[in-house]
């Protein structure tokens, strides 16, 4: 990082090589679209190059890069949402809270296709892609990236209780898709 700030020619290459796979993975899961994830990864490193000189080490580099990546992904998701609002897509999902404009992610695989996948991780990946964007963002940040509920709430600009509700509903949906539970399978008490 310091070498980058000093303008050493190979330092930026080394930084990109060391971090691009993680950045892409996060973008891919947040956006559930490989092409948009690749574009978002490019945008992340453009922002890194613009602001690396001003990076003062107040946060760890990984935290700083993670925040840039999440912000780029959220920008893409907001653009998608705006595009839908102008009439490019329609369809409500059960994940939105009252008053929220949450839309069904339509590009993911079908539930039957998910069930037919034998590998648990592959099935989970496919199920994740079918979640609505706000639900998927919470699952990715909380469960896969390991952020706390408060950190997720701060990043998404919502309250912690909203994060918890979204996570609860997303988990119920994932259990249905990944484990084959019925949506209403609550289980009888003893």
């Amino acid at each position: 990082m310091r070498a980058c700030q000093r303008g050493e020619p190979d330092a930026l290459d080394a930084l990109i090589r060391a971090t691009y796979a993680d950045v892409y993975a996060l973008c891919r899961r947040m956006l559930a679209d490989p092409d948009e994830a690749a574009d978002a990864t490019q945008e992340v490193f453009v922002r890194v190059m613009r602001s690396v000189i001003g990076f003062r080490g107040e946060a760890a580099f990984g935290t700083w890069l993670h925040r840039i990546t999440v912000n780029v992904c959220l920008t893409v998701l907001r653009k998608r949402s705006r595009a839908r609002e102008t009439g490019m897509a329609a369809g409500r999902t059960a994940f939105g809270l009252p008053g929220e404009a949450s839309e069904l992610a339509s590009s993911g695989p079908l539930p039957d296709e998910i069930a037919a996948t034998s590998d648990l991780a592959a099935r989970s990946e496919a199920a994740l892609a079918t979640l609505a964007e706000d639900a998927r963002a919470v699952v990715v940040l909380r469960d896969l990236e390991g952020l706390s509920t408060k950190e997720v709430a701060d990043l998404l600009g919502v309250s912690e209780s909203v994060v918890k509700v979204r996570l609860h509903r997303a988990h119920a949906r994932l259990r249905t898709l990944v484990l084959g539970d019925a949506d209403t399978a609550i289980g009888e008490p003893a």
Binding site: C4, Q5, G7, P9, A11, L12, D13, I16, R17, Y20, A21, D22, Y24, A25, R28, R29, P34, A37, A38, T41, Q42, F45, V46, M49, R50, S51, V52, I53, G54, R56, L120, A121, R123, S124, E125, L128, V139, D143, L144, L167, H168, H171, L174, R175, V178, L179, D181, T184, A185, I186, G187, E188, P189, A190
Partner: protein, 135 residues
Amino acid sequence: MSEEDLPRFCRETRSQLPALVDGELTGWSLHVVRAHLRHCAGCTAERDRQQQLADALTALRDQPPEPPDGLLDELLARARPRGVRERAAVPARGAVSGARPGLSVAFLTVGALASTGIGYGVYRGVKTLRGRSGG
């Protein structure tokens, strides 16, 4: 049976299950939930389902999606033509000199002093000329 129809103790236990599965439940809450699970098959089954999902997500975390071929080359190609310094067009917050705010303060102070000096000089010059033309 919907979740609202469950006995109160089951509802409270189930609200604690995510924390239990995450290993974040401690103390008295952990003790109470474990005691309930020992004799409630429904809540135990729900705990097992939540644990299965947690395992699935852990498997997902351990297998991140691979970046596409060519992405690294594209990123490196975009970074190479001009180095970081040339691309760093946006200075640090409020800074005139980019990464060195201390230098910015010095620039601004020198600028302010120079402007004041020039202004005072012009004022004195005009006053002197007026005095001469008046006398």
